[in-house]
Each structure stands twice: as structure tokens, then as C-alpha cells.
């Protein structure tokens, strides 16, 4: 039975060794290098498929992401503002704000090592709750209606986040699967109400189209300046406020400290007298509630209606944003802008060169190359590969 094979007296070719700590400058360098390599690879891909050269590619990408056509040529603030609103830049900022608030909401859960992948559903259910109030109680005074919508959204999102946390603490269910599945339940609930309210119409359209009850803009009067009445702008401001608050919540509060300890080790938390169950429930309620607020903002300021696709997959993209930012709220600002910029840039590529066969799917390839490189480079930040030769040197 024994089948003794010849095993050569040879050392392995290379080892993968965990790095102690990398100099911040060096790790930044690696990330920049990964970004450049990704751009070059994408350029190569574009050259091979549709014969667009590197410079044109970069120009188109940049224009699609941050283009501000006619903004600087416009005369007077009013005209420049109008031009800005229809620019690529504005579209990027608007989408980035949406992505950012979801990433900010995921921050505390992820810091606690609770893998909440249910932001999509939490946003939808928050939006649903807001729309429900908006639809059925449209006669309420404007500010009160918006307040009730906000509160109901917070509750709905919070409870949606609380459910998987409850089962995790009681039965130790897997939170990733649980939160993921909750997304689909939320989507189906949204579908149900969409169809219910739509009735015989072909589409639901905007809710309270004429009365504008429950619309954020119903708060301003006609005398306010045009830029002040812009709902997108307020959306961005509110998102930034949440970003700042979340940063300090995690950094400087007792609750934030508890989250960090629970995320590091449940045993350490118990040792310090922290109730893991309590922290887990509270944090997921907060995470879900902020997603709920995002839902409220989407309904009241952006779409004024609901459908099951209203979160647009941003609940999932936000996971990448949160991870890439190491759960730091301020870093998330840059990361979400970058990701949306990539998506929008490659989308313009698709629109411009669709006649040559460059489809939106090809645009996705560019985003994928970028993400692969940016995430992949983390490996080289965490580990280093030591060849036989260098392994010996390191030991000496």
C-alpha cells in the first residue's frame, strides 16, 4: 500500500510573507501604479476592439466623468448654473452623492465586521415607506408631511437592518446571506406597491405630480434663487453632513468605540463589559436607518416615485466603496466620485463609439479592469512575495 515517491530535497520557489507595515507613501505609490496600469490596460482593450487611441480614450473618459461643457463659456451666474446642471460633471456628482450615503451607512456595520450586503433593500424599503406616506397622506401640510416621511423611512430602513442582526445574535445566522435575501424581499414589496398604485396605467409616473406634496422642493417658495431651489444640491449637502457626522461618530463617540472593539474581537468586547448583542443590534439599526434616509431622499428629491430598481445597484457598489475606503467616511467621498466617474466615463465611450460596436457591456469591462487592479494591488500592500534568494536574505 505504501507508495513512497521520490521527494526532491529542494526548497519551495517562493514564499508569500505578510508585511509588517508598509510606509504610507509606498502603499499610495502602489495604488497609483495600479490605477495607471488599469488605464493602460483599458486603453489597450479599447485600441484592440474599436481602434481608439490612448489620448482620445483618456479625453473621452475624462469628459464623460467630469466634463463641464458650456459652463465656463456661459455669461453670468444664472446661465453657468443652468449649463452646469446639464453637464457630465453634475451627473457624476449627483450619482456619487447617492453612492456615498449608502457607503457611509455601511461603514459602521462593516467596521463591526457585520457584512451587511443588504443596503440595496434597506434603501428600497426606506423609499417605499416614504412613498407610502406621500401617496396616502398627501393632504398633510408640506413640512409635516416631509417630516413624517423621513421618520417612517428611518424606521423602515432601521427595522430592515435590525432583522438580520436579530437573527444573527439569537441564532447565529449568516448575515451575508440573510441581508442579501432581504434585498429581494424589499424589491418584491416595491413591485407590489408599484403595481397597486399604477392600477390600469402603463406606468406609475411621479407621485403627486401636480400638488408636489412630499417633494423636497415644495419647501421653497418661488422667490428663492434657482440654485437654492435645486433638490440635487440639497441632496448632496445632506449627504456630506451625514458623512461628516459618521466620521466623528465612529472616531470620537463611546458607541463608535464599542463598534471598533466588537469588530476586532467579540472576546475583547466581553472582557471590556461590552454587550456584543446590544452593539450589533444598535449598529445595524443605524446602518439600516441611514439607508432608509437615502431612500427618503431619493423619493423626495430625485425620483418622486418608486420602483424596484430605484437603488440602481448602488447598494452593492457601495460595498466596494466602503471596502476600498477602509470604512473611513472621508475617504469614501473620493472613492465614490472615482467609481461613478469611471462608470460615466466609460458610458460616454460606449455612446460615442456605439457605431463601431462599443457597447455598454464593453464599458463595463473598463470598470471591471479598474476595480480588479485597484482591489488586486491590496495584495501587494499586505504581502510580499519572497523568492528563494530573498527569503534567505530576510532570515539573515
Amino acid at each position: 500500500m505504501s507508495k513512497t515517491k521520490e521527494v526532491k530535497a529542494k526548497e519551495p520557489l517562493f514564499h508569500i510573507v505578510a508585511r509588517d507595515v508598509m510606509h504610507p507613501g509606498a502603499s499610495f505609490g502602489i495604488r497609483v501604479a495600479a490605477f495607471v496600469v488599469a488605464l493602460l490596460l483599458s486603453a489597450l482593450f479599447v485600441w484592440v476592439t474599436v481602434k481608439v487611441d490612448l489620448i482620445t480614450f483618456l479625453k473621452t473618459m475624462f469628459r464623460g466623468a467630469f466634463g463641464m461643457d458650456k459652463v465656463f463659456e456661459a455669461e453670468g451666474f444664472e446661465n453657468a448654473w443652468t449649463a452646469l446642471l446639464s453637464s457630465y460633471m453634475w451627473a457624476t456628482l449627483k450619482a456619487a452623492a447617492k453612492l456615498l450615503i449608502i457607503a457611509v451607512a455601511l461603514g459602521p456595520a462593516f467596521k463591526m465586521r457585520f457584512w451587511n450586503v443588504g443596503a440595496e433593500g434597506q434603501v428600497i424599503i426606506g423609499a417605499m415607506a416614504a412613498a407610502f406616506v406621500m401617496y396616502h397622506y398627501s393632504t398633510m401640510p408640506g413640512p409635516l408631511l416631509l417630516l413624517v416621511m423621513l421618520v417612517v423611512s428611518i424606521l423602515a430602513g432601521g427595522i430592515w437592518g435590525l432583522i438580520p442582526a436579530f437573527f444573527k445574535t439569537k441564532l447565529n445566522t449568516n448575515e451575508t446571506l440573510f441581508t442579501l435575501m432581504m434585498n429581494y424581499i424589499a424589491m418584491k414589496i416595491a413591485d407590489y406597491f408599484y403595481n397597486l398604485w399604477r392600477g390600469a396605467k402603463s406606468a406609475l409616473g411621479m407621485i403627486n405630480q401636480t400638488s408636489r406634496a412630499g417633494w423636497l422642493r415644495s419647501l421653497w417658495s418661488g422667490k428663492d434663487a434657482a440654485w437654492f431651489r435645486n433638490e440635487d444640491l440639497w441632496f448632496m449637502i445632506i449627504v456630506l453632513v451625514f458623512t461628516v457626522l459618521m466620521f466623528f461618530y465612529l472616531k470620537s463617540t463611546k458607541q463608535g468605540y464599542e463598534i471598533a472593539v466588537v469588530g476586532e474581537s467579540h472576546n475583547t468586547a466581553r472582557y471590556a463589559g461590552i454587550s456584543v448583542t446590544k452593539v450589533m443590534l444598535r449598529t445595524m439599526a443605524i446602518s439600516g436607518a441611514i439607508c432608509g434616509i437615502c431612500g427618503f431622499l431619493l423619493v423626495s428629491s430625485q425620483s418622486h416615485t418608486i420602483n424596484s430598481a430605484m437603488a440602481g445597484g448602488f447598494g452593492f457598489t457601495a460595498i466596494i466603496v466602503a471596502w476600498l475606503s477602509k470604512f473611513n467616511s472621508f475617504t469614501m467621498i473620493g472613492t465614490s466620485v472615482l467609481i461613478v466617474a469611471l462608470q460615466n466615463g466609460s458610458m460616454l465611450m460606449a455612446n460615442t463609439y456605439s457605431d463601431r460596436g462599443f457597447s455598454p457591456s464593453a464599458a463595463d469591462v473598463i470598470v471591471a479592469i479598474m476595480l480588479l487592479m485597484v482591489i488586486g494591488c491590496e495584495f501587494f500592500i499586505k504581502y510580499r512575495v519572497m523568492f528563494k534568494h530573498s527569503a534567505k536574505e530576510a532570515k539573515a
Binding site: T4, V7, S252, K254, G256, Y257, S265, R270, Y271
Partner: protein, 530 residues
């Protein structure tokens, strides 16, 4: 047949050294032979490098230097796969099985056999192996339906299926009941009879004497020697294992005015599998003395400290009573660490698992100083200023080497991590200070700093509990030593008069009246009466 084979060398380990990091040398220049067809016990205290040495044969670790010969040929074992090819199989302490798979599926997992995947044929071969050695597992049985003993058997089958001629078992009886252990021993004897070589890693002397042909002893990573079991006694083995008494220059001030601080009565508890880890433990701890606890790893010392600290669920009827310096008496049973703190009981605890329980690895010194006091102040914000000052103080007094107070403690060396933890716990001005392996992995100087700190606490009237693994230190530092063996108290001795051999013996033997060997006799008696 086995007798004839005993002198043929199956494995030769020559000048093998393995170290982890720059400080921990797990094996130092070990040279030893393993003969074909023998049962060899590898004996040594905790941390003597037994498992590390065997892991190098199993392909888990790769030696830093030295050579390994199998059947006379030099080999390089780079992975468990290489080990299998050489006929070496290791059964680890923690089983490596897939719960939702059947026995047969687990056995064939990872095998690259030629031809079609044939689970039925594999099952047949497994059945043959089981019949040959008297194993009671079925190829179709799922692992989650198995007892711990069956899982271990499955691991053995797995190794035999892969053609193992040399089997290494790492503390195989640690998870078994005495009856299951007896069964395992008869299986091992069967395997020896079939010409296999068996190595068992253990620190239980009775087992060594009961099963093995030869005993090889490691101490602090070095090979001390090997003796035929027939020529060994428990005493001679203990001496080889613990070594000659080393005179340590640790001060031991006489206790001044010891006062009762903690009473433990009938303390019992069970682990997750429902096995008893502590049984009817009784003792008193006095302020102003150092109370040492000795025992082999897994004898319940961890649970004992955690029970006092409010981190371990205990059985009914257990009592832990805290006698406060002001005369109040409080029961600590069923209280969380937070509750204990709120009751005004000043209890400090340096747990064994520094980064997994005592500290937050990703935080710096300041964040860690905050751990037990983060609730300070009435605002929702944490008050970091006092923690910053404390961190500064600990850093200066204990000479903690860290790039900054905010460098994650995970990146500090073991000694510095321990200083941060001990510093914080002492700064809390405790009445009871529990320490588990306070000097594990520390260099001599740091260790002495810690001993000095503990003595300082003792002089202040603190009740210090010191769980340690180095018997020389325990003897030199403690006033009393409680010895645990398998979750029971096997002795409480005066550290000034006892000997190292006595403690070593108590660690592995229970006093006669509670000896496990007595049980079958009692059972037999009862049977007779019926």
C-alpha cells in the same frame, strides 16, 4: 515481527532548528531517531516544541535548518502532500474534517487518484481498513453525526487510506473519555502489530507508560534524550521533563497581614461540548500574597480565571465570594464584567489571549488604555485625555517600545504588547489581580520587570493570582501553589517548601481518592452488588 523491526530507523531528524520570528525558538538543534514499528511517546511540557517538531514531519512547517531522513534518504517535506507521499500521516489536535461530508467523502477529499472518481470503491477500502483495525465508523456516516472519538478515528483512517506507515497523533487523548482512550490505545497496539510506526505527542505520564515502547523527551525546544519505557518511571520522566531546579533570582517578600479576599467553593463548569472542565474546585485567595496556579494546558486554569472575571458560565452551586477590603461580601456568580465593575469590585485580569481578549489589536496604546474606562464621562463622546496620559505613563514606566502611542498594538513585539496589557491592569489599582501566563514569550529582562510589578502589587495588599507554566518561576515567585489536573484540584502546596518534582507529579496525577482509575473498580463493585 514488530520486535525484529525495532532497530531499523524510519525517520531521522538531524540538527533541526525552527524559530518563529527572531525571539521564539521552537526547536533548537534537535537530533533524534524514530524506529520502524515502535510506539514512541514524545513527551514535554507546554511550549517544549513537540508539536512544532512533528509539524515539520507532516509538512505544515519547514525547518529553518537541519535535515530529515526518511528510510535513510534525505527528504524535503514541503507540504502535507509530500508527507503523504513519504507515508507520514498526522492526526492534529483540531480535526481537519468537513462536517457535512460523509466519512468516505472526507477520506478521498484532496486525493488525486487516477481514473474515475469512485466513492463506492473508496468506501469499500475504508471498510477493509476499519475491519482490519477494529474501527467503528461507516463510510456513509456524516461527520456531524460522529462523536469526538469517531472523528479522531476517521482522521486515522484518512491517514491509513493515504498509505501512512508512520502515524503521528497530537495529544490524542485530550478530547477523549478514559474509556475512549483505552479503545484508542488498543487500536494503536493493533497498528503496531501491523508494522506501523506510531508517534504520540503527550504530556500525560501514565499514558506514556501504558502505551509506548520508547519515550523521547523535549524541554524548551531541545532534545533531552530518549529512554525505553521499561526503564522509565513517572519520577524519572518528570525529572527529564522539567529539568534540574534552576535558581532564579526573583525576590519573594513575605506576605504582610494577609486578608481573605476571594473564596471559591464547588466551582464547576462545562465547555461547549458539555465536557466538564472544572470539577468542585475550592480555594481561598488572600490579599498580600501571590497565589500560583500550576497545571498542564487544558487543565482548566483558563476557565478558572475567566469564571472569576465573569466571562465563563459556571454550574449551579458554584460559589465565588469577594470579600471587599471594607468588609462587604459579594457573590460574583452570574455577573458580567461590567456588573462586577459597577459593584465596586476592583478586579484586574491579564488574560492568556492578549490580542484576542485583553487588547484591541488595531488600536494604539491610547485606544487600549480606554478599553475598560471608555464609559467615563457623561457625554456620548469618549474622553481620551486621561487615557493618553495613562498611555504616556505606562510607556515611560514600563519602557514600552512603540513608534507612537497610536501605533496599533498588534504591530508591537510580544513583550511590549504584554507590558501595555499588564500596565493597564495594574493602573486600575485592583484589589484582585488575575494573570494568565503573564511572561509567556517574553525575554528575561521583561519577565523580571513583570515579576517585579507583581511583587509591588503584592506589597500593596493586592491578591495576585499567577497562572504560569514555568515551574521554576512559580516556585520562586508564589506564596502558595494550587495544582490542577484535568479540571480537579490535585494539590495546594506551600511554594517555599515544595519541590519541582512534587508539582510536576501533581500536574499529571490526581490524589488516589479521586483517581480516574478508581472508577472502573467502583463500577465493578456496583455490578457485583446487583
Amino acid at each position: 515481527m514488530a520486535e525484529q523491526n525495532t532497530q531499523i530507523t524510519a525517520i531521522r531528524i538531524q540538527n533541526v532548528t525552527k524559530s518563529f520570528g527572531t525571539k521564539v525558538v521552537a526547536n533548537k538543534d534537535v537530533t533524534m531517531d524514530i524506529y520502524r514499528g515502535e510506539i514512541l511517546s514524545l513527551l514535554g511540557e507546554n511550549g517544549s516544541g513537540k508539536t512544532t517538531l512533528m509539524n515539520m514531519l507532516a509538512g505544515i512547517y519547514f525547518p529553518d535548518s537541519g535535515e530529515i531522513f526518511v528510510n535513510g534518504k534525505p527528504v524535503s517535506i514541503r507540504s502535507p502532500y509530500d508527507a503523504h507521499a513519504l507515508g507520514i500521516g498526522m492526526i492534529h489536535q483540531h480535526f481537519k474534517l468537513v462536517d457535512v461530508f460523509t466519512a468516505a467523502e472526507n477520506v478521498v477529499l484532496g486525493l488525486k487518484e487516477e481514473g474515475k472518481f469512485n466513492l463506492a470503491a473508496a468506501g469499500k477500502r475504508i471498510k477493509e481498513i476499519c475491519d482490519a483495525y477494529g474501527f467503528d465508523i461507516h463510510p456513509e456516516q456524516k461527520v456531524y453525526d460522529m462523536t469526538v472519538s469517531q472523528k479522531q478515528t476517521l482522521e486515522i483512517v484518512k491517514a491509513l487510506y493515504r498509505g501512512a506507515e508512520i502515524l503521528i497523533l497530537d495529544e490524542p487523548t485530550a478530547v477523549l473519555t478514559p474509556q475512549e482512550a483505552d479503545k484508542l490505545f488498543s487500536v494503536l497496539r493493533n497498528m503496531k502489530a501491523a508494522g506501523k510506526t506510531v508517534i504520540i505527542i503527550t504530556h500525560k505520564l501514565q499514558e506514556v507508560l501504558a502505551i509506548s515502547d520508547r519515550v523521547a523527551i523535549l524541554r524548551k525546544g531541545e532534545f533531552v534524550g530518549a529512554v525505553p519505557t521499561s526503564e522509565a518511571t513517572e519520577l524519572s520522566l518528570t525529572e527529564m521533563m522539567v529539568g534540574k531546579k534552576v535558581e532564579l533570582n526573583i525576590e519573594r517578600p513575605d506576605p504582610v497581614d494577609p486578608t481573605l479576599r476571594l473564596q471559591v467553593r464547588n466551582l464547576s463548569c462545562h465547555n461547549h461540548e458539555g465536557l466538564p472542565v472544572l470539577q468542585n474546585v475550592n480555594f481561598d485567595i488572600y490579599g498580600g500574597e501571590i497565589f500560583g496556579i500550576a497545571g498542564i494546558s487544558g487543565c482548566g486554569q483558563k476557565e478558572l480565571l475567566e469564571a472569576i472575571a465573569g466571562l465563563q458560565r459556571v454550574d449551579e452551586n458554584s460559589e465565588i465570594i469577594y470579600d471587599a477590603p471594607d468588609g462587604k461580601r459579594e457573590s460574583l456568580i452570574g455577573k458580567s464584567p461590567k456588573k462586577i465593575k459597577e459593584m465596586g469590585v476592583s478586579l484586574s485580569f491579564v488574560p492568556e489571549d492578549r490580542l484576542g481578549m485583553g487588547l484591541v489589536g488595531s488600536m494604539g496604546m491610547v485606544g487600549n488604555m480606554l478599553l475598560k474606562d471608555y464609559r467615563r464621562g457623561h457625554t456620548p463622546l469618549t474622553e481620551t485625555k486621561p487615557s493618553k496620559e495613562l498611555a504616556e505613563e505606562v510607556r515611560e514606566e514600563l519602557e514600552v517600545v512603540t513608534p507612537s502611542l497610536n501605533t496599533p498594538v498588534r504591530r508591537l513585539s510580544g513583550g511590549n504588547v504584554q507590558k501595555v496589557l499588564v500596565g493597564r491592569e495594574i493602573a486600575a489599582a485592583p484589589a484582585v489581580l488575575l494573570t494568565a501566563y503573564a511572561v509567556r514569550g517574553l525575554d528575561i529582562n521583561t519577565s523580571y520587570t513583570i515579576y517585579h510589578l507583581l511583587n509591588e502589587q503584592k506589597k500593596k495588599g493586592v491578591a495576585v493570582v499567577y497562572v504560569g507554566e514555568d515551574l521554576d518561576v512559580l516556585l520562586a515567585l508564589s506564596d502558595k501553589i494550587l495544582v490542577l489536573c484535568g479540571g480537579k484540584v490535585s494539590g495546594l502546596v506551600d511554594a517555599r517548601t515544595t519541590t519541582k518534582e512534587e508539582i510536576g507529579y501533581l500536574m499529571t496525577n490526581l490524589p488516589e481518592e479521586v483517581h480516574t482509575d478508581a472508577k472502573p473498580e467502583e463500577a465493578a463493585k456496583e455490578d457485583g452488588q446487583q
